[in-house]
């Protein structure tokens, strides 16, 4: 999934992959008007509660704004891109066909000392696809997308790095949850939704939660992993299990249930107190229709919004397992109690 393309608003390609993968573990998979991929796994019995999981499949990316006279491509960003992470990067330009390209820079031999001390601005960068202007114009149009050309990188132990781990890792966690549910009995109907356009405003979660009317909504996203130069209180450690958010965006009873189940099943977890907006799909799900009890499970991830987003694969598995136990634990009574403050 992380090697596939799916910039916000243009998730077709990765959506197709997810559709196929979800089809192997769900009863039914559909796509809605905005492109959300919705997998349904039905529960047993009558009057079944519904739970919606949301993990976004879109990624940040680049969009071509101009083809220069000599065929170089100017671009802007879609979603929050740090311009400094783009320098000397290989990209794929998604024109009529995919082109390889390089965001190059002046070699050190030609730099003045002043030039070397400032970050290069995105508007001063170009993508070089190595073709003549005529060849470029035959393949690329203004408005075409580009993504960083990065393969999945296995690191030591269970760590791995890639682009778009934010938030395809959550889609992997939902897949794990669906797999685990094959071995568990559950009364709740589960909708696992790979959402679109989170990076530009959580729009996929908005319409899918409206449409599905879940009794409980849980967003799965990434949170900042521990790294030098960032205070501990702003991060969660990698490899110590999923991170459960607490705060206004989170229904206390759903949080409580998740943490109880984690302890019961020996699933390690950390807690992230979030006093305000979580900046995730959970934030919009909560105020959909007449209000939905929501929770947020996060996967600790280093170097967010770079092309080397790093995380622990076992954290993904553990998050999937915890979600499965949660789904299996929910009954009508639990759902009704969520309204009793």
């Amino acid at each position: 999934m992380v090697e596939a393309t799916g910039v916000s608003g243009f998730e077709d390609s990765v959506g197709h992959i997810i559709h196929q993968v979800f089809s192997t573990v769900a009863d039914e998979v559909t796509r809605d008007t905005l492109g959300n991929v919705i997998a349904l796994k039905r529960g047993e019995g009558q009057g079944r509660p519904t739970i919606m999981l949301a993990g976004h499949m879109d990624e940040i990316g680049l969009m071509i704004t101009k083809i220069e006279e000599k065929g170089f491509l100017r671009f802007t960003s879609i979603g929050g891109v740090d311009q400094r992470t783009l320098v000397a990067q290989e990209v794929k330009v998604h024109g009529r066909r995919d082109l390889l390209g390089i965001i190059g820079m002046k070699p050190p031999h030609l730099l003045t000392p002043e030039e070397a001390n400032v970050a290069i601005k995105m508007q001063d960068m170009v993508i070089d696809v190595g073709l003549t202007p005529e060849e470029v114009k035959a393949v690329v149009s203004v408005g075409d997308l580009a993504t960083i050309n990065r393969k999945f990188i296995p690191l030591a132990g269970d760590f791995a790095a890639a682009k778009a781990m934010d938030d395809r890792a959550a889609v992997a966690a939902m897949h794990q949850c669906l797999l685990e549910l094959k071995g568990l009995r559950h009364t709740a109907d589960l909708f696992a939704v790979a959402t679109v356009q989170e990076e530009v405003g959580a729009r996929g979660a908005l319409v899918s939660s409206y449409h599905l009317k879940p009794d409980i909504g849980i967003a799965i996203d990434v949170c900042h992993g521990d790294m030098p130069g960032v205070p501990d209180q702003d991060t969660a450690p990698l490899g110590k299990g999923p991170n459960l958010a607490l705060g206004g965006n989170i229904h206390p009873k759903v949080f409580e249930k998740l943490s109880e189940l984690a302890k019961e099943h020996n699933i390690p977890f950390t807690i992230d107190p979030v006093p305000g907006p979580t900046g995730t799909d959970a934030w919009v799900m909560q105020i959909t229709r007449a209000g939905i009890p929501t929770a947020l499970i996060s996967l600790p991830l280093r170097y967010m919004h770079t092309s080397v987003e790093t995380l622990s694969l076992s954290d993904i598995k553990l998050a999937g397992r915890l979600l499965a136990y949660f789904v299996a634990s929910v009954d009508r009574e639990f759902v009704e109690a969520l309204l009793c403050y």
Binding site: L100, L110, D124, L155, Y303
Partner: protein
């Protein structure tokens, strides 16, 4: 393709073993005698009893990184090998040591930055390599202090005639030299694949000292900055405009007779050529030129965009024209061209 193999070989300055291996394997049949010296220069010797002694040189080493300490958390601090701009390091995939342990150089998430930070260069002291180790002990099982690292860049085609890969400076020169060595010449030819160019032109001087050539041709992959935002006079070289001949750089003034002959050959044989239009940066030519009582030299380069970064680009047409021009020059020596 040899250029691909050379580009993907692991060989930062002082650690050129893999490049030596690729070259000796590839040229096994074409080169009868190989010499190696105390620094690790690899020299293909094609001796003859007649004519001048000509040295061709291309450096095997590339810019890279070296592990300088291992944090308690298992993250690796590093230093730069050769002239790398700090700004090209962020958000890259690297491999460490001969076992090619994978690592990434990350950066603080944009969400955690103050707006002014985004305009500041992330300097080496704030960068590290993350190999996924959770402690110093775990990291030490995979890497050790002094291990070299290079960018994990795959060679690839952007079109039929334009390729990308790491370290075309100077694996392009090595590949040109290898092609030239596949033929026989009626004078003594030394093909010197040198070490440690990027950290101070270290290998070429000692090789020239031992070989005592009558003249030398240095083969390079050189700066090509024909990009938007640069004035035409700052291009240095242009991609697709043929081999670039150096008149002078920071280390050398090239021999005018050799330049004149190359120009004549290019004109006569319809080979596009250009002059390198910048005098910054040095090359092995500087060391060779000032060896013993002096050696006439010239530098012929394949223009390469984005050298000293994780990924560079060159035109295979430029590459082929460079090979052709160098061969013609050697045939001209055979035909009696002397200094």
């Amino acid at each position: 393709m040899l250029l691909k193999e050379l580009s993907q070989a692991f060989g930062p300055s002082g650690c050129e073993g893999e490049v030596r291996e690729v070259l000796t394997q590839a040229l096994g049949a074409a080169v009868g005698v190989w010499q190696k010296d105390a620094l690790g220069n690899l020299i293909a010797v094609k001796e003859s009893t007649r004519g001048p002694k000509v040295m061709l040189a291309a450096h095997m080493d590339e810019c890279g990184l070296m592990v300088s300490s291992i944090d308690k958390s298992g993250l690796l601090r590093f230093r730069k090998v050769g002239g790398l701009d700090d700004r090209v390091l962020v958000s890259k995939h690297v491999v460490i040591g001969s076992k090619r342990v994978a690592g990434v150089i990350g950066a603080k998430a944009i969400h955690l930055q103050k707006p002014e930070e985004r305009n500041q260069v992330i300097t080496l002291s704030n960068l590290y390599i993350d190999i996924g180790a959770k402690s110093k002990e775990e990291a030490e099982r995979l890497v050790k202090l002094g291990d070299y690292a290079v960018f994990a860049t795959e060679f690839g085609y952007l079109s039929e005639s334009v390729v990308k890969g790491k370290s075309f400076d100077d694996r392009a020169g090595c590949a040109v030299l290898a092609e030239v060595l596949r033929e026989e010449y009626a004078f003594t030819l030394y093909g010197a694949f040198t070490v440690q160019e990027e950290i101070g032109l270290r290998g070429a001087g000692v090789a020239a000292y031992a070989l005592e050539p009558d003249m030398a041709v240095v083969l390079e992959g050189t700066t090509c900055n024909d990009l938007p935002g640069s004035e035409e006079h700052g291009y240095c070289t242009s991609l697709g405009s043929g081999p670039a001949i150096t008149i002078m750089d920071a280390s050398v003034v090239c021999d005018k007779r050799m330049i004149g002959e190359l120009e004549r050959l290019a004109r006569e044989h319809n080979i596009p050529m250009q002059y390198k239009r910048s005098i910054t940066g040095g090359s092995d030519a500087g060391r060779i030129n000032q060896t013993k009582s002096g050696v006439p030299v010239v530098v012929i380069s394949v223009p390469c965009r984005y050298i000293h970064s994780p990924v560079s680009m060159l035109s295979l047409k430029d590459f082929e024209h460079t090979v052709k021009l160098v061969k013609l020059f050697l045939r001209s020596i055979e035909g009696g061209f002397v200094l």
